[in-house]
């Protein structure tokens, strides 16, 4: 370094040699930095790929479900012994008996109570419901005989998907040797098939893995987020506008600002406890309801929306405000006609990101009872419900292979929603991006 300093007066030194001497060092630093960046990005990507790979490889089989073709005789003696097509009677008939009869017809050689029970165990208990639906929709069926694809039990499904080790000892498998034999026969006869799993999207939770779906959780999430959005967006925007444009800058507004920033950092479970104490215990709102979940998530999302909203408002250049005031607009007109429309894309982006966070939130909802086992798909804001992340949490606890699959499938659905929401935020930002 000292070599290039030839003159005691800095202004007399040759800038060219000085700069040239330092160039290799600067370039090396730049290269090093680029490498650090590259390594960091690759590491991050690797983790993402690992996570997605794991979830997708585990979850995608859940989108397919095994069905068994069973010859069903719609025996009038069982369905409608009186023969008067009374809907009440059709409703309460013993359709499971029809399924059992069908199974017996496929394997007439099977005898004995235990053996028969193992045979009936190949199909899901959902089969009876399926037959009931068909008959109720079309009473003509009574007396006819039809080949019907019935939902296989979870164990058969798992076997077909190759997730049961056949070489294991019989006692260590959930499916017995004789059952495996029948499944193989059925498969050879082409009476076993994998179909797209519509149940996953059309039904609520169930103890039987093959009948469990995420519809209930999806609707729960929908109602909860609707409440969250309807509450937090208008309140958040109004607060941001007031604080940014109208509030006098004094100690009180400073205090409010600090508190809002703090709220954004409060762990979400605290909001759950608050919701439990205030909404449920004090106001007596129903437990496990999307209404309360939405209220709690609104508390959590509000600070995010307020902070994003204020940032969007400050990013509107002062020249636009001056222009509006200059022609005689009142403050409210200035805000309403110019500032707010320009800030809106930013506010929406912030809100969507806040909503995506709310969609993925589970801890505060555990506190208010949205963690119950609920079979019925919620139909209103006060029906007991759960949400997707909590459903994932519930299923992840269950040992059955079919639930492991469904856990990953539910995660995939949740991730898909997140990606859509974040993508929407990016599109909004890009589309309405303005340069002044």
């Amino acid at each position: 370094m000292n070599k290039v300093i030839s003159s005691p007066d800095p202004l007399q030194r040759n800038i060219k040699t000085i700069v040239n001497a330092s160039l290799p060092r600067r370039h090396a630093a730049e290269r090093r930095f680029r490498w650090y960046g590259l390594i960091a990005v690759s590491l991050g990507l690797a983790f993402v790929v690992l996570m997605f790979g794991n979830i997708i490889s585990k979850g995608y089989p859940a989108f397919w479900q095994t069905y068994i073709q069973v010859p069903i005789q719609f025996d009038p003696a069982v369905i409608d012994p009186q023969g008067n097509r009374d809907p009440q009677a059709l409703q309460s008939a013993d359709y499971a008996a029809l399924v059992r009869a069908g199974m017996r017809r496929m394997f007439p050689a099977v005898e004995g109570r235990l053996e028969l029970r193992a045979l009936y165990g190949l199909v899901s208990s959902d089969g009876a419901l399926e037959l009931q639906n068909r008959v109720l929709q079309n009473p003509e069926l009574i007396g006819a005989e039809q080949e019907i694809w019935l939902l296989a039990s979870a164990n058969v499904d798992t076997l077909i998907k190759g997730n049961i080790e056949r070489s294991l000892d019989e006692t260590e498998r959930p499916i017995k040797d004789n059952q495996i034999g029948w499944v193989d026969q059925l498969q050879a006869a082409g009476q076993i098939e994998k179909q797209f799993n519509t149940i996953l999207f059309s039904s609520g939770d169930s103890r039987e893995p093959e009948q469990a779906g995420i519809r209930g959780a999806l609707m729960g999430s929908f109602y909860t987020l609707l409440i969250t959005f309807l509450l937090s967006f208008p309140i958040g925007v109004a607060t941001a506008v007031y604080l940014e444009e109208f509030a006098p800058k004094n100690r009180w507004t400073d205090l409010i600002e600090v508190n809002i920033n703090n709220l954004a950092a409060v762990p979400s479970i605290v909001f759950g406890l608050l919701g439990l104490a205030v909404f449920i215990n004090f106001f007596g709102l129903p437990r496990s309801a999307p209404l309360v979940g939405g209220l709690v998530l609104s508390l959590m999302t509000l600070p995010v929306i307020i902070i994003a909203g204020r940032a969007a408002l400050t990013s509107v250049p002062p020249s636009i405000r001056e222009a509006a005031l200059g022609v005689g607009a009142s403050k409210l007109q200035m805000v309403g006609h110019h500032v707010l429309p320009l800030a809106m894309p930013g506010m929406l982006t912030g809100s969507i990101i806040g909503m995506a966070r709310a969609l993925g939130e589970s801890a505060p909802l555990l506190m208010i009872g949205m963690v119950a086992f609920i079979v019925d798909v919620p139909k209103s804001f006060t029906d007991p419900a759960t949400v997707l992340p909590v459903q994932i949490f519930l299923w992840s606890d269950l040992p059955e292979r079919a639930f492991v699959e469904r856990t990953s499938a539910a995660i995939m659905v949740l991730l898909a929603f997140m990606i859509v929401m974040n993508g929407l935020a990016i599109i909004l930002r890009k589309r309405f991006e303005r340069r002044w």
Binding site: I320, R321, G326, V327
Partner: protein
């Protein structure tokens, strides 16, 4: 001078309290610095605005000192002076744009015709409709050219119906010398115009509400010579109908467009007079230094 200081401080405290701001008395330091006496005749025969003893403080820092000046009807008056001398500050007093700056306090008297514009009975909305403003950087709304011009008349409810509005928009653009260039693209965004066109659009926007006074803060500083020439020409035409106050850094511009010129220096109004006289025969040493380029 001492009574004025005490008065000023009391005024400031009252004003601040009235605004609801909680400032302890001691935190606002008002110091009334020595100020220089203005050279030249501050009054005119038919004043549009009368300013007397105007002081401006930014958080206690004095930016304008006892400025007294008349602005004549239908004249173009130019404010010149070195950077930071308070030209913009004074200009923004004239339509109370300073109200938007927190902790900016204006003390003194400014009258538009007979009305004290800082009086409580005067609403800034009304004032700013009467005293329009064109800013240093062209700042059209990110809306269509038409909307830019129509905005002012619309919020004030100046016109009835679409036909009248169309008429007004075209007339304003015509007056601002922009109509020919944008006639066929009124629905395009105002921001799609060139810098000079944007500035004329801003002038059209200002005159669309038919103000009595137009304030221009360095309207040509972001423009090339040709666009500047167009705007200067325009200012000359606008004088017929409006009173124009223009801040400029270009002495040639002041000489070309204005009838009277005021020279500011560190918050003082140093000299005011006919533009010809100021540029050919300045009476104050500071003015002379500035226009001969020895200062600033």
């Amino acid at each position: 001078m001492s009574t004025t200081i005490i008065e000023a401080k009391a005024n400031l405290d009252n004003a601040l309290n009235a605004e609801g701001r909680q400032i302890p008395l001691s935190s606002v330091q008002i110091t009334d610095y020595d100020h220089r006496q203005t050279v030249g005749k501050i009054t005119v025969d038919n004043p549009k605005m009368i300013c007397r003893d105007v002081n401006v403080y930014y958080t206690g820092k004095q930016a304008l000192k006892h400025v007294s000046i008349d602005i004549g009807a239908n004249e173009v008056i130019a404010f010149i002076g070195p950077s930071g001398c308070g030209k913009s500050t004074f200009l923004r007093c004239l339509n109370r744009m300073n109200d938007t700056i927190p902790f900016c306090q204006v003390i003194g008297e400014i009258k538009l015709d007979q009305d004290d514009i800082y009086d409580k009975s005067i609403d800034v909305v009304q004032l700013r409709a009467r005293v329009g403003m064109v800013f240093q950087k062209p700042n059209p709304f990110p809306k269509s050219i038409y909307e830019n011009v129509a905005y002012g008349p619309r919020i004030h409810g100046m016109v009835d119906g679409k036909a009248e509005m169309d008429e007004l928009v075209r007339a304003s653009l015509e007056r601002a010398g922009l109509l020919k260039e944008v006639e066929n693209r009124l629905s395009e965004p105002g921001t799609s115009l060139s810098g000079g066109q944007q500035q004329r659009l801003c002038i059209a926007r200002a005159i669309a509400v038919n103000p009595e006074v137009i304030l221009m803060d360095e309207p040509c500083s972001a423009l090339d010579p040709i666009a500047t020439a167009k705007i200067e020409e325009l200012i000359d035409e606008l004088r017929e109908n409006y009173t124009i106050v223009i801040v400029t850094h270009s002495m040639q511009q002041a000489a070309r467009v204005s009838q009277r010129t005021a020279y500011f220096h560190l918050g003082d109004l140093i000299e005011i007079g006919e533009t010809d006289q100021i540029f050919t025969n300045p009476k104050h040493k500071l003015t002379e230094d500035y226009i001969t380029g020895r200062f600033g």
